[in-house]
């Protein structure tokens, strides 16, 4: 009887299902995912549903601490800070996602081509990556931002282009390493013997095997990009209304006489919470998709 009651070991699970199971056991990753969903929903739905307005100025309500009327308080010209933080969050999150998409596209393309063809192609592309690694990336970002500075000040597009274009290097290296070890495998040889073109072999046979790694690094790229964007905002080169911008404004009014703590607290806390969730989720995904490192899973 007792043998029947004992939990049966899972059998016949695909690697994907096993990974999902491992991910579900990681509380921190799950909590990160839930928090992330909540932050997304708050930033994109709440302003829409309640019709929040981030721009209307009420000079008589300057620097109000949080109250029932203004949950997050008001800023130096009396704008509702809740609306500003949430709408600023939209830009931060969007920039993070879009720049990550750009960096994944370029990184996967370069990495898979370099790894699959090897030889000279590999050499050329990896030298290029080495060269770009040698440049402090903030430089490139600031220079690229300058190119757009007057035509599109405050627009999000140049920011995520610039950030995406400097963030693809690690992705390219990682994908190349994986593809390099895959291209000698029998199933790739078999696909080529059947007459598949190189592009088809890469897209259909090689890349699905690298998808896990790509997903993990993409998850870890998003926080990196969001931090970079906030740096740019802090230096006055970023998007008009984002968390980084709000924090920068709050820092500039830090003074020993009167503390406007809510100005720094709300965008700082939301920014930190988002990045924390993304990092935990990324770590969880890495541990789930790569069982070898499971023993080393950071808490």
């Amino acid at each position: 009887m007792s043998t029947l009651d004992a939990p049966q070991p899972p059998t016949g699970l695909s690697p994907g299902q096993q990974a999902l199971r491992r991910l579900r056991q990681n509380r921190f990753a799950l909590l990160g995912g839930v928090l992330l969903l909540a932050i997304f929903a708050a930033c994109f739905l709440v302003p829409l549903v309640f019709g929040l307005d981030a721009t209307s100025v009420q000079p008589e309500y300057r620097h109000q601490p949080p109250s029932w009327q203004h949950l997050f308080g008001t800023d130096n010209v009396g704008r509702d800070y809740l609306a500003r933080v949430l709408i600023g969050g939209q830009t931060s999150l969007l920039v993070g996602l879009a720049a990550t998409l750009a960096s994944v596209t370029v990184g996967v393309l370069v990495g898979s081509v370099a790894g699959y063809f090897g030889g000279r192609v590999d050499e050329v592309l990896m030298r290029l990556v080495d060269f770009l690694y040698g440049i402090p990336y903030m430089f490139l970002v600031i220079l690229i931002m300058l190119m757009f500075s007057e035509t599109a000040r405050g627009e999000a597009l140049p920011v995520f282009l610039a950030l995406g274009l400097v963030q693809w290097l690690t992705m390219a290296r990682v994908v190349r390493g994986q593809v390099l070890s895959l291209r000698r495998r029998e199933f790739v040889l078999a696909a080529r013997l059947m007459g598949s073109s190189d592009a088809r072999v890469i897209a259909v046979h090689v890349l699905p095997n690298v998808a896990g790694v790509i997903l993990v690094y993409a998850t870890l790229t998003v926080p990196a990009v969001i931090i970079l964007e906030s740096f740019l905002s802090f230096l006055g080169l970023g998007v008009k209304l984002s968390w980084g911008q709000l924090v920068a404004e709050a820092v500039s009014v830090v003074n020993p006489v009167r503390s406007f703590w809510w100005l720094l607290w709300w965008p700082g806390a939301l920014l930190g919470l988002t990045l924390l969730s993304l990092n935990y989720l990324g770590d969880g995904l890495r541990d789930a998709l790569d069982p070898k490192t499971q023993a080393l899973a950071p808490p």
Partner: protein, 399 residues
């Protein structure tokens, strides 16, 4: 087989043409061709045969160290020191190291070129003011500062001045000062901040990481990894602002901002180093866990060594390896991260000159700091790789 080779070359040619055409629209055909030529040179430098690298490497090492040392030590000392570098490179440097050195110089030239192109692409120019100068005046200014209208001409003038006179040129916006005179005093400030931040990051990271790694899944492990995650996730200007509010405004134990005494350095270097301390802690933790499972640790314990000697004498070296390879990116990150921290704490470092130069379109200041940053990062990366090879005999052959 034949056909596929044709197809491949055809594809490459088509890609190249598309690249030239795409680049030519914004920056002009000649600049586009020059960019591709630069890329070709860069790749070519990676393919130099071994004999050429062995001859060229020491010479470039001489030139590079001379150019780096001359401004601070004077021509004579620099010549002696660089000659030592030449002899050292000729006698002891391995092929891989020489190859790295031969790659540095064309990289720097190409960096200057790309930066020039990007700056010229940016709208506005250093002579654009609210009061419109007459075209005649502007031409005279352009001639006297060596800033012609074309990016390629500027690149030519700049490189000639750099190579023949060893000078970074005059600042365009700060009148009567050379770029060296602007950046020179700022360099030690940034270096002091960076070195202190890196030391702090390594010390804190190793302590946290190794203590967590020795007892995985204990409460000490959870606490230190939680702290590390927080350090990675908070942008450092938020951390900096919080530190200022707590230590400078509430407790009044440290100055808010400024520069001058050692006390001014404490908050900025903690702010700058904390995210890297967090990364290092995570790396050291994983490294420690991995090392502690090795056979040689069991052997050391079986010999009856006390635990602290097992850890310090045998495990530490292995736990350090991943940290050492992270030091290169960390140093680069700390250098550029200092843009933000310098502006937060009002520190007169190099970051402010670069950002100011970029916003004011002060071409020579931007190029000067770009060269400086890139050289620092590449040289540091080289040193890190040498240190790695010294620590891990397994990779010694490849370097």
């Amino acid at each position: 087989m034949r056909w596929s080779r044709w197809r491949r070359w055809g594809l490459a040619a088509a890609l190249l043409t598309a690249l030239v055409a795409g680049l030519a629209r914004p920056i002009g055909l000649s600049s586009a061709l020059a960019t591709l030529g630069g890329l070709g040179t860069l790749v070519g430098a990676a393919w130099l045969p071994e004999r050429a690298v062995r001859k060229l490497g020491p010479l470039l090492a001489f030139g590079l160290s001379f150019a780096l040392l001359r401004p601070s030590l004077g021509p004579w000392v620099a010549t002696v020191a660089s000659s030592l570098a030449l002899v050292a490179a000729h006698r002891w440097a391995s092929f891989a190291v020489l190859r790295r050195i031969t790659f540095i110089v064309p990289s720097l030239v190409f960096l200057i070129f790309v930066t020039t192109l990007l700056m010229y692409q940016a709208p506005g120019n250093p002579f654009a003011r609210e009061r419109v100068a007459s075209p005649l005046v502007e031409e005279a200014l352009r001639a006297s500062y060596g800033v012609p209208r074309g990016a390629l001409e500027f690149f030519e003038i700049y490189m000639r001045r750099l190579l023949l006179e060893g000078s970074l040129g005059p600042s365009i916006k700060v009148q009567g000062r050379s770029v060296e005179a602007l950046i020179g005093p700022a360099l030690p400030v940034s270096l002091a901040l960076g070195v202190l931040a890196l030391t702090f990051a390594v010390a804190l990271g190793l302590v946290l990481g190794i203590s967590a790694g020795l007892r995985p899944n204990s409460s000490a492990d959870y606490v230190s990894m939680g702290v590390a995650m927080l350090g990675i996730s908070l942008p450092n200007f938020v951390i900096g602002a919080l530190l200022v509010i707590v230590f400078a405004l509430s407790w009044r134990v440290l100055p808010v901002a400024g520069w001058g005494s050692l006390r001014h350095l404490i908050l900025p270097s903690i702010t700058l180093g904390l995210p890297y301390a967090a990364y290092i802690a995570r790396l050291a933790r994983n490294g420690t866990i991995e090392v502690m499972q090795q056979d040689f640790i069991r052997t050391a314990r079986a010999k009856g060594l006390p635990e602290h000697r097992v850890v310090l004498g045998h495990a530490l070296k292995g736990a350090l390896l991943p940290v050492v390879s992270f030091l290169g990116p960390a140093a680069a990150g700390i250098l550029t991260g200092s843009f933000v921290v310098e502006s937060l704490f009002g520190i007169p470092g190099m970051g402010q000159w670069f950002v100011k130069g970029a916003i004011n379109r002060d071409y020579s200041v931007v190029l000067g700091s770009a060269i400086l940053y890139a050289t620092l990062v590449t040289v540091f990366n080289l040193l890190v790789d040498l240190a790695y090879a010294w620590l891990d005999p397994r990779v010694r052959g490849s370097l």
